[in-house]
Amino acid sequence: MSARSGRRERRLAALLLAPAGAVSALCFAAPVLWLGRMSLNESLPGGALREALTAASYVEFATDDFYLTIAANSIALSLQVTALVLVLTYPIALFLHRWQSPWKPIVVILTVSPLLVSAVVRTYGWMVILGDAGWLNAALRLIGAIAEPLALINNRTGVVIGLTEVLMPYMALALIAGFGKLDPLLEEAAATLGAPPWRRFWRVTLPLSLPGIGLGCLLTFVLAISAFITPKLLGGGRVFLLATEIFTQAIETLNWPLASAISVVVLAVFAGALVLYGRLAQRWAAL
């Protein structure tokens, strides 16, 4: 390629990239940087704001037991949900990996497509099932198993159940992709060499699906810790997490510096999860 055509190509590229570049810079990069800057401003009582360069919001977060508890609760809940999602989704993905049927493509889509159904709609479905007058309580009362309705929403239980279901399709996506890269000949070889099914699974299939598990867990964890709709609606305002606190501080309390500081903390947890995943992925690649 001559220098001249190279320059022409670069000019063409610049022209083609300009609209999307403008959207990325103005509507994404600038707001996120602005959010970082906002976290250093000073918040005054009554929602007023003073431009400053202070770490006061971070100090407030790090020294107030309320926020530290929220952070710990968020991480614990996200880890618990991630574990549940993995345990409930892995059998489905393994089944789809082994299943030979003309229906398979449709069932794969059925497994993953709920992620395109609005989280509001799916959370509402859980409210119908788990509410005090919901289907589960009504059915249990009908058969005489309980006298008083079980408290399944407006508490942590409801958030865990709903979030687990809402995030399962993402895990399925990662696991299905992981199984897709697995060479079926290896499993056959193990079988031919006389390994019983459980041993074949334990020594061949499971280790080979670790990269998919890792990616799925990363995805589920970061989505769980930043989920807002499901915890807010199924928690009924009684389950305090980082994501719900960002919304409360931003919209109700109007403490934008603190809301921004909590957002930066969430991003830091994200970065931590990514680094941990990178380390593990390297180790698996070396296996």
């Binding site: 999307a20 959010l35 497509s113 859980w126």
Partner: protein, 265 residues
């Protein structure tokens, strides 16, 4: 029955139960939407389409539906107009900083919506654009454009370059090759990208919650505000309408780019 057979039947039962859990929230919605009762009840006794008819009379929902539809269509058009050239440049041209730029384009998919929503609120408030069409469109563009660029760039990368080379060697000008060969071959990917952009915008709720105003709200935000306090069957009917739109989008996506590939797998 042999032991292996028992094991297989048991395994199938577990899979069915897991699917039951995964699809659990969708089934009651459909059932409840066809009950004519004033409240949620189990099992419903009276059946009908009363709540679907009530939707048509609900001015709030109808207005929000029109807003969501208008925004989703506009956002889809802008995403394609800006995303197609960018994807072409990233997939086909050589220029410094290409990988960095592609990473920047797709980065919004990695950030939590709750953080993006707050970031957009802070900027849009300054520009006095919260609760306006331009504000909501900009907010949705941030999450739809990355999908469009990724789908089209992936499709371009897998498109056989031979066909274009053949057209060029037969004397077609570069502009003519793009118009007569590349674009027609790209049609499925563009349709798939459009379907996904539309669905993402139409269903978007977290970012919208930050930037909607008192006069201008989207349908998912209206639903969110409604179910925060009530769970009557009207929302079930509305949810079924939304699910039908999703199913149509999923079918279009599968027919064009393949459902799983649309998510970068």
């Amino acid at each position: 029955m042999t032991r292996a057979r028992v094991g297989r039947v048991g395994g199938r039962a577990v899979i069915l139960a897991l699917y039951g859990f995964l699809l659990a929230p969708l089934i009651p919605i459909v059932v409840v939407s066809f009950s004519n009762e004033a409240m949620l009840s189990f099992p419903p006794q009276i059946w009908g389409v009363r709540w679907y008819l009530a939707l048509l009379d609900n001015q709030k929902f109808m207005a929000a539906f029109r807003v969501s539809l208008g925004i989703a269509l506009t956002v889809t058009a802008i995403s394609l107009a800006a995303g197609l050239p960018a994807a072409f440049a990233v997939a086909r041209l050589q220029f410094p900083g290409r990988d960095v730029l592609y990473a920047l384009f797709t980065a919004p998919l990695l950030l939590p919506s709750i953080v993006l929503g707050l970031a957009l609120l802070l900027v849009l408030v300054r520009l006095r654009l919260t609760g306006t069409y331009p504000g909501l469109i900009v907010a949705h563009l941030v999450v739809t454009l990355p999908y469009v660029i990724r789908i089209i760039a992936t499709a371009l990368a897998t498109l056989p370059a031979d066909v274009e080379a053949a057209a060029a060697s037969l004397g077609a000008s570069p502009a003519r090759v793009i118009r007569r060969v590349t674009l027609p071959l790209m049609l499925p990917a563009m349709l798939g990208a459009a379907a996904l952009a539309f669905l993402v915008s139409f269903d978007e709720v977290v970012i919208s919650l930050f930037v909607v105003g008192a006069k201008l709200t989207t349908l998912p935000v209206e639903i969110y505000r409604y179910v925060e306090f009530r769970t009557d069957p009207q929302i079930a009917a509305l949810s079924v309408v939304l699910m039908a739109i999703t199913v149509a989008g999923v079918v279009l996506l599968e027919r064009t780019v393949g459902f799983l590939r649309a998510f970068g797998r």
